[in-house]
């Protein structure tokens, strides 16, 4: 009797311990389900591409490494008032305006073309832009994005007593390699440029010009950022006139399909063949153009449809 009770007791205790331990492992496994998924994700998910290095294909005057999605059409309005130092009579520049209207179109996700017309020297411009490399997330083996941009410009403004200025003489080319990197709330680009001007003012000036530009974007909030860019023209290339290095600052606000940007720049032109080599204003003297950039995106074809097509193709 006594022995039986002991065994019963022991059975009871062992059963309780077993059940308890089972209960504990059950508890542990609940959250471990998510851990299992997380581990599986870590193994199977390869680092993807980094998106949104810059908000728009234009930084301020410079272009960014971004291209449009295939089938996307962008309408760009770049507007500069006169200089801030032009006095109260000219309402600090607001009486004057220079404007560039442009259309940009994504042929593929990595190839964008664009055309524009600027009131500065009545200039037409066109460009073609290729995304060569895309930055990947950490561990993806591609730390930067690289985009190649080729611009052609032609100014059509009449020059009194210069009938010899034919189309060829009025044309210039800019080839730019845009190297960009996105850090978490900060994006940076470095842009070496080669510019070919078919005609320059005097023999002292070079037809082939080289410059190095830098641009940055800092997030302030989810929808606001500060942008800046500086274009350094190497010395002894433009000698007959004083060409300043173009420095521009912008405050960028994003609303739905628009990107709106308030701009301060010492450059009046918005085309690389001009603002890199012909900037006549200087920040020090207050030749600062206030203005804005506005871009509006339209979608011609559906992104998801293409994505679905791409999946079928695989």
């Amino acid at each position: 009797m006594h022995e039986n009770q002991l065994i019963l007791m022991r059975t009871f205790i062992i059963t309780i311990i077993c059940l308890l331990s089972l209960h504990l492992t059950t508890k542990a496994q609940d959250s471990s389900l998510l851990k299992t998924l997380g581990d599986s994700m870590a193994v199977h998910n390869k680092p993807g591409y980094v998106h949104g290095t810059f908000k728009s294909i234009y930084l301020i005057n410079l272009q960014t490494n971004e291209t449009l999605a295939a089938g996307a059409l962008n309408f760009e309005i770049q507007h500069r008032f006169g200089t801030l130092n032009s006095g109260a009579y000219n309402f600090f520049g607001l009486d004057f305006a220079t404007i560039r209207l442009g259309f940009d179109y994504g042929i593929t996700d990595w190839w964008t073309i664009g055309v524009g017309r600027s009131s500065y020297l009545k200039t037409f411009d066109g460009y073609t832009k290729f995304k060569l490399l895309k930055q990947k997330e950490a561990g993806g083996g591609m730390p930067i994005s690289v985009t190649l941009l080729a611009t052609i410009s032609n100014y059509t403004q009449d020059q009194v007593g210069a009938d010899y200025l034919n189309t060829n003489y009025r044309t210039a080319y800019a080839t730019q390699l845009i190297l960009a990197k996105k850090f978490r709330y900060f994006s940076l680009e470095v842009v070496p440029s080669y510019i070919r001007a078919n005609l320059v003012q005097t023999v002292a000036d070079k037809n082939d010009l080289f410059a190095l530009s830098g641009g940055a974007r800092v997030h302030l909030t989810k929808r606001m950022s500060l942008d800046g860019e500086y274009n350094y023209l190497f010395p002894n290339q433009v000698n007959s006139t004083k060409a300043y290095n173009a420095l521009s600052m912008g405050w960028e606000i994003e609303t739905g399909g628009h990107v709106f940007q308030l701009v301060f720049s010492n450059s009046q032109s918005m085309i690389p063949t001009q603002f890199i080599t012909q900037t006549a204003g200087s920040w020090g003297q207050g030749n600062i153009y206030f203005g804005f950039n506005l871009s509006r995106n339209f979608n011609i074809t559906s992104h998801s449809k293409r994505e679905a097509k791409a999946k079928v193709a695989y």
């Binding site: 039986n4 065994i7 019963l8 059975t11 062992i14 059963t15 077993c18 089972l22 059950t26 496994q29 609940d30 959250s31 389900l33 998510l34 299992t36 998924l37 997380g38 599986s40 994700m41 199977h44 998910n45 993807g48 998106h51 949104g52 999605a69 996307a72 978490r184 989810k222 929808r223 994003e254 609303t255 739905g256 399909g257 995106n297 979608n299 559906s302 992104h303 998801s304 449809k305 994505e307």
Partner: protein, 180 residues
């Protein structure tokens, strides 16, 4: 007295072996939809990770926010950068349990799913009807429910608020295959 030990051990073994019955997928579907007069929004993700533990009636789901594709590229960028902040909160997860019994044979069984949904750094308890279908060595879970973006601290500017429905319909479809 010895048979009692055997009985208890056998019982425990039987229970614990049932606990090992897990079904998993790495290609689970989750999509959400909004329809307003201004804009139709459709976002779909075919790379959801899901696991169903039949023995314990537990299930879990995890999806990368970046994996959602939209009809408009710009929408996708806004979704990641402005709304969901996918750099900061890369995943949305669900962990929970279902009540209701799955029959041993093939068929569709209604269940009630209850658990915690975490997205954009915010966890919310959720509960709703779902179905689990048994088909050979697969368990196929299907569920439709509604969420309110603001519940997950996703702020939508007043300018575009009318373009997005107040409550979004979410579809989940997971086709899990028995592991090991």
């Amino acid at each position: 007295m010895i048979p009692k030990y055997i009985l208890v051990s056998a019982l425990l073994l039987a229970v614990s072996s049932a606990y090992g019955q897990q079904y998993m997928t790495r290609a689970g579907f989750v999509g959400f939809y909004s329809k307003t007069s201004a804009e139709d929004i459709k976002a779909e993700n075919h790379q959801g990770y899901a696991i169903i533990d039949e023995g314990k009636k537990n299930l879990a789901f995890a999806v990368l926010i970046k994996g959602f594709t939209f009809p408009k590229e710009l929408m996708q960028e806004h979704f990641n950068e402005n709304y969901m902040e996918s750099d900061k909160y890369p995943k949305a997860t669900f962990i929970g349990a279902y009540s209701g019994d799955l029959g041993a044979g093939d068929g569709v069984y209604p269940v009630t799913v209850k658990g915690t949904l975490t997205a954009h750094g915010v966890s919310k308890p959720v509960e709703g009807p779902a179905t689990i279908e048994r088909k050979g060595n697969q368990l196929i879970g299907h569920c439709t429910f509604k969420i309110i973006p603001e519940d997950f601290n996703v702020q939508i500017p007043s300018l575009v608020r009318d373009k997005i429905e107040r409550t979004l319909k979410v579809d989940v479809d997971i086709q899990c295959t028995k592991t090991n």
